[in-house]
């Protein structure tokens, strides 16, 4: 998959999480956020954000490795 496509996928996932965050913020008033179902929704949402973070970090690591491999292959 081209790098731009991978980045677009991450961006799309981030947009989905951002939309869900906004929706949660509007739907759950501050005084209800200590209730179990509100907490559970936030946990699920934070896990999704964590997944996007993991993918981003893995891609960053992969790019670093490619960069290093290219550097090693260059004549000195």
């Amino acid at each position: 998959m081209p790098l731009s496509a991978e980045l677009k996928l991450i961006q799309k996932m981030q947009q989905i999480v951002a939309k869900a965050t906004k929706e949660y913020d509007g739907r759950v008033p501050a005084e209800r956020r200590t209730e179990a179902d509100a907490k559970a929704s936030a946990q699920a949402l934070s896990r999704k954000q964590g997944k996007v973070e993991d993918l981003t970090r893995k891609l960053a690591d992969k790019l670093n490795q490619n960069e290093e491999a290219r550097g090693a292959g260059e004549p000195r």
């Binding site: 961006q11 951002a18 936030a42 946990q43 954000q49 981003t56 970090r57 960069e67």
Partner: protein, 324 residues
């Protein structure tokens, strides 16, 4: 004379100017002893304090004397060191109720470190900020608090503020333990170096994840998410341009020639880690539902305001870890 970075100066409530005097005074051992004697320390305990301060360090000696004289403080620390989930609650309750400034300062120091230990740098920043505002200049832990405050900021991530605070630490505490000074120097170098923009984005996402976990989904969290989306868009445009130029040759070229590692090297930010995070999470997971509820109920009854929220977040984090 020092130049305090703006954020740090605001925390310390001093002007951010080149000629701002050092807001930290050397640890006043005699004043400390006098205060603890007034609280009931015996002559033998004081003698032991002086001997330990000479042989080991003022920090270790002060810590032992406080534990000897204040049973509630000793009990809270025993809980924390024994990976008992109640430890954090006991420390927060002690901060709320204790009139003794040295106990409060040390309790805040350990509470901040406990938050750092369970990957809650935002909670740690709040607690260390309270220490720096209200408790500095009474304990030999001032230097360590500044170090851990800077480390916590680096993990938030607040790169610029973290680098500024750590530079102040190196400058203001030349006698701090070498492991902290060396780690601070390493962290500063990493914070100031060029970073792979994707790593930086991932760091921001990590901060957003923690905010959502605490049900903090307000404007600031949403702004950070939008910022991430905009930064990704810029990188996508750069990469698409590179892909076009290489005739559709595809991926592999990294944007902005990233450096090899993320700025937030665990080795540097985790110096002095309590290493009890897994233990305390396991202990929390092993408790019965009613025992967990009792601790949470106690937090609700004993604490109020920000500390209650921080402690509730701490137990939420333990629940999440235990459920993995």
């Amino acid at each position: 004379m020092i130049r305090a970075v703006a954020l740090f100066a605001a925390v310390l409530a001093v002007p951010a100017q080149d000629d701002t005097p050092n807001p930290f005074r050397p640890f006043d051992r005699e004043a400390f002893v006098k205060a603890i004697q007034a609280a009931g320390a015996t002559d033998a305990q004081v003698q032991r304090f002086h001997a330990q301060a000479a042989e080991e360090s003022a920090g270790a000696a002060a810590e032992e004397l406080l534990r000897a004289v204040f049973p509630k403080y000793a009990a809270a620390l025993a809980e924390l060191e024994g990976a008992d989930p109640r430890g954090v609650l006991s420390l927060a309750a002690l901060i709320a109720e204790s009139q003794q400034p040295h106990v409060r300062a040390h309790a805040r120091y350990w509470l901040g470190r406990a938050f750092l230990d369970v990957d809650d740098p935002e909670g740690a920043v709040e607690v260390f900020t309270e220490y720096l505002r209200h408790d500095r200049n009474v304990s030999p832990f001032d230097g360590e608090v500044v170090f851990f405050y800077g480390s916590a900021l680096a993990r938030v991530p607040e790169r610029e503020a973290a680098a500024g605070v750590l530079r102040e630490f190196v400058q203001l505490f030349p006698d701090a333990p070498e492991r902290y000074r060396a780690s601070a120097a390493q962290l500063i170098a990493e914070l100031e170096s060029k970073i792979n923009p994707l790593h930086e984005i991932a760091d921001t996402m990590g901060g957003v994840e923690r905010r959502i976990r605490k049900t903090d989904t307000g404007e600031e969290t949403q702004r950070r998410q939008e910022d991430v989306i905009a930064k990704l868009q810029k990188i996508i445009e750069q990469v698409e341009e590179m892909e076009k130029q290489s005739s559709g040759g595809g991926g592999g070229n990294s944007p902005n020639s990233p450096r090899q590692d993320s700025n937030l090297t665990p080795g540097a930010t985790e110096v002095g880690k309590l290493n009890r995070a897994r233990d305390v999470t396991d202990r929390w997971g092993m408790l019965k539902d009613r025992e967990r509820k009792a601790i949470e109920g106690e937090a609700e009854a004993k604490l109020s305001g920000r500390h209650r929220k921080l402690v509730e977040d701490y137990y939420r984090r333990l629940s999440r870890g235990a459920g993995r």
